[in-house]
């Protein structure tokens, strides 16, 4: 139904390549799902924008390109004609519902706008009924209240549901979903995927689903298109692509997908606890209105131990308190009650100079590879900052920095460069080198691979596993992704709303979880839930 032919999109001069999209042709039948897969920068989102007529003004299509919907070439339309098509025939769901929805307008009104702008003359009560019906249809429990709510009062899942409600309000023939679940928790992601599939079955719409996650592909796709730097390198049915990938790049992507049950236990002995957390509680005061403050308990009596040479994963959805634990352990935030012992010494009683000394023993690698390095500081200064703060001479610190950068896989020529010259994965390596330079007892990786592409993610995970074996590193690995946790950790601690709900060896958690919540997390992992899944069945792709 939607046919894209010889689509080429020109980038402005000075970009890293001439064409954002090069000669891409494919089609989507009504009622079927096409997954557009690729790493960041592969051009998959640009295709989505082109189909919805939302290309930024700096990009334009080459003459021979055509996008046909029901016989019409969309690329020849003027803005006026586009306005009639968007929303009515082509719907779009974006990655970040918080920024895609208007923060100053109740969502119900935003959905009602769709009807109004497509010329439906309805009475007020009729509009209200329709909006609320639609919200109920997308699985919002209290549609009357939510339709009057502003986006900041809603959860991420509710926002994305509202966004979907807007996109499908006019029952479009084509729905473009650009990474709609990337910002969501794994259980919410599952619900949103089910919702989309449900809608599709009802309205027979064609779904173009842009994603980087092969788990999702395995779950929902009928056909898969793989993009690599603007080229369509592979196109075929899900079964063909996942099981019999032809192109080298597709095979590389598939090999990088983290797999459950593919775990190599660490070699170190595990007897002496390095880090002991007992009865850790933390409460934030949250303003619920101008006059009222409510205490929000983010950690509730958390206990755990980390032994020497062990990798422990803290797994939980957003709001489970896992990042607060990292902040408590690094003393970046205060603690209400509880104790943290590092090598037997109480971390909480220390102040001033003694705190400085102990502090370096717990180091942290952050999530955002762009925010975690000072843009105005050379790499050598960033990496040697820790040793210099400990009183190492600057020449020695430089040598150490060079050594560590080699260990994390960057050459010595990285030393005198600035962060903007490096890619996300390289920056994350620099962040790891900086943390290691302080010779930590415990390394905390706070969602350290979540912002990375799947192939880069696999490289960083390999690096961490390698460091664990070579340096006997003790690691606390904080993640929302059970697949990643399964790959690196010896033990997993599952957190829910500030409570430890389950703790145990990684294998045991995956094979027989004792807690209902852990079970639901496992079920929600894309590509895992159905045993028929091609991805699980064909474990070895290469």
């Amino acid at each position: 139904m939607l046919e894209i032919e010889k689509l080429s999109i020109v980038l402005p001069s000075g970009a890293d390549r001439a064409l954002a999209i090069k000669d891409v042709s494919f089609s989507v039948k009504s009622g079927s799902t096409l997954c557009l897969v690729g790493e960041s920068g592969s051009g998959k989102s640009v295709i989505g924008q082109a189909v919805a007529g939302l290309l930024p003004q700096t990009l334009h299509c080459l003459k021979q390109s055509s996008i046909r919907l029901g016989g019409r070439n969309l690329l020849s339309l003027d803005e006026c004609a586009w306005r009639r098509i968007r929303g009515r025939e082509i719907g779009m769901v974006f990655q970040e519902p918080m920024t895609a929805l208007n923060p100053l307008m109740p969502v119900g009104q935003q959905i009602a706008e769709v009807y109004r702008s497509h010329g439906l003359r309805l009475r007020k009560a009729e509009v209200r009924d329709r909006v609320e019906g639609l919200l109920e249809r997308v699985g919002i429990k209290d549609p009357a209240r939510i339709s009057k709510s502003y986006t900041f009062r809603m959860s991420g899942g509710q926002r994305q549901r509202a966004m979907i409600a807007m996109a499908v309000a006019m029952k479009p023939k084509v729905l473009i979903a650009d990474e709609p679940t990337t910002a969501l928790d794994v259980t919410t992601q599952r619900q949103v995927l089910d919702l989309l599939a449900d809608f599709q079955a009802e309205t027979r719409m064609a779904l173009i689903f842009i994603t980087h996650d092969f788990g999702i592909v395995a779950d929902i796709a009928d056909e898969v298109a793989v993009m690599e730097s603007g080229n369509l390198v592979e196109f075929g049915s899900k079964e063909d692509v996942l099981a019999r990938a032809q192109h080298r790049y597709t095979r590389k992507l598939l090999a990088a997908v983290p797999r459950l049950h593919e775990h190599k236990a660490s070699v170190a002995e595990r007897s002496t606890p390095v880090l002991e957390v007992r009865g850790l509680s933390k409460t934030y005061g949250v303003a619920t209105s101008i006059f009222r403050r409510q205490d929000m308990r983010v950690l509730n009596d958390v206990n755990f131990k980390v032994c020497k040479g062990e990798v422990v994963a803290l797994v939980g959805e957003s709001g489970s308190g896992k990042s607060t634990i990292a902040k408590c352990l690094t003393r970046l935030t205060s603690i209400d009650t509880g104790s943290i012992r590092l090598d037997g010494a109480d971390m909480l009683s220390l102040k001033g100079e003694a705190l400085m000394k102990l502090r370096r023993k717990v180091q942290i690698v952050f999530q955002d590879p762009y925010g975690s390095l000072n843009p105005r500081q050379k790499i050598v200064d960033a990496v040697s900052a820790g040793p210099i703060a400990q009183g190492v001479a600057s020449r020695e610190a430089r040598e150490l920095a060079e050594h560590l950068l080699t260990i994390v896989g960057l050459g010595r020529n990285a030393l005198d460069r600035y962060p903007h010259e490096f890619s996300g994965g390289q920056r994350q390596r620099i962040g790891i080198a900086r943390a290691l330079a302080a010779k930590p007892e415990v390394l905390i990786a706070d969602e350290a691979v979540s912002a990375l592409d799947v192939t880069v993610q696999a490289q960083i995970l390999r690096l961490l596993a390698d460091l664990r074996d070579r340096l006997g590193l003790t690691m606390l690995f904080i993640t929302h992704d059970l697949r990643v946790a399964g790959q690196v950790s010896d033990r997993i601690i599952v957190l829910k709303a500030g409570n430890v709900v389950e703790e145990g060896p990684t294998q045991a958690i995956f094979t027989k979880p004792s807690n209902q919540y852990t079970y639901s997390l496992l079920q929600a992992i894309p590509g895992i839930s159905s045993n028929e899944s091609a991805l699980v069945r064909n474990k070895c792709v290469c």
Binding site: R331, Q363, Q367, S372
Partner: protein, 284 residues
């Protein structure tokens, strides 16, 4: 200090082809040249009675004419550049340093330190700047340094607030958190991690600060409260205001000099701000 190496370099790199910066910097460079080379350039001394009083412009030997005492207007304008530049740079520099120190402490430490410093800053900001400066000069006595001190006192507060705001947002950035966890000292974190990243907006306000300092100085001199031993544009305009109808050149030429200087500084500030935001956009 080696922490600052990266800042001027990046500013220079991105300023390469900006016409505003080119013109603004050209004007300021010319001004500096005139101020430093005043004695060789200027045809007469600043106070020297060089010819017949009230000669109009384009008279032989007096390009811009003479004033009512027979002093050469061109020489006055040239020597006036000295005090304008001195007061402008010294007081803007002092105000920026003071503002950075106060703002950095308030933004980094927060809590009670922030409260005390910011209440004091706000207290200063509630007073009308020019009136306070005039009172201060009157109290401190008519010398160029009391003018500098007065202008510094009335102009550091906005810098402090700007730096504080930058520091508040930088305080939560991951690279600052990482530096804290690494055990870097507070002063080192402020100087090496945060300040270089907060200087962008300061660089563009700096030249506006200089221009407002120059304007304030001429106002003070115009009112006759400034240093009477130094030639100044404001003083020339003030002295000549009675003759504006009969001898317009005595006040118009120092006025033009003032106008061109302010224009140059404003261009510079705009250009820097624009190249800064252009860089931000290209980074996104």
């Amino acid at each position: 200090m080696r922490y600052f190496y990266s800042v001027p370099r990046s500013v220079l790199t991105f300023c390469g082809f900006n016409w505003q910066i080119a013109n603004g910097a050209g004007i300021i460079a010319l001004l500096a040249l005139v101020a430093f080379g005043a004695s060789p350039i200027s045809p007469y001394g600043a106070w020297e009675i060089a010819g017949t009083p009230c000669l109009p412009p384009l008279s032989p030997e007096h390009l811009l004419g003479t004033d009512m005492l027979g002093r050469d207007v061109l020489s006055g304008v040239i020597y006036g550049a000295q005090s304008s530049l001195l007061v402008g740079l010294a007081s803007a520099g002092a105000a920026i340093v003071l503002g950075i120190v106060v703002g950095a402490f308030a933004g980094y430490y927060g809590g009670i330190v922030d409260d005390i410093l910011m209440r004091f800053t706000e207290f200063l900001q509630t007073m009308p700047g020019l009136a306070l400066a005039l009172v201060l000069v009157a109290v401190l006595g008519p010398s160029i340094w009391s003018v500098v001190i007065a202008i510094t006192i009335v102009s550091w507060a906005p810098v402090a607030r700007l730096i504080r705001a930058e520091f508040l947002s930088l305080r939560g950035r991951e690279f600052v958190l990482a530096a804290i966890v690494l055990g870097q000292r507070n002063t080192k974190i402020i100087l090496s991690q945060m300040l270089p990243n907060a200087l962008g907006p300061i660089v563009s306000t700096a030249s506006l600060k200089v221009s407002s300092a120059i304007l304030t100085e001429s106002t003070i001199s115009f009112l006759g409260l400034g240093d009477t031993t130094r030639m100044s544009w404001g003083m020339m305009i003030g002295n000549a205001q009675g003759q504006l109808r009969e001898a317009w050149w005595m006040s118009v030429f120092p006025g033009v000099a003032l106008f061109v200087t302010i224009l140059g500084l404003t261009l510079l500030s705009d250009g820097i701000a624009r190249s800064g935001s252009a860089r931000k956009q290209s980074m996104l």
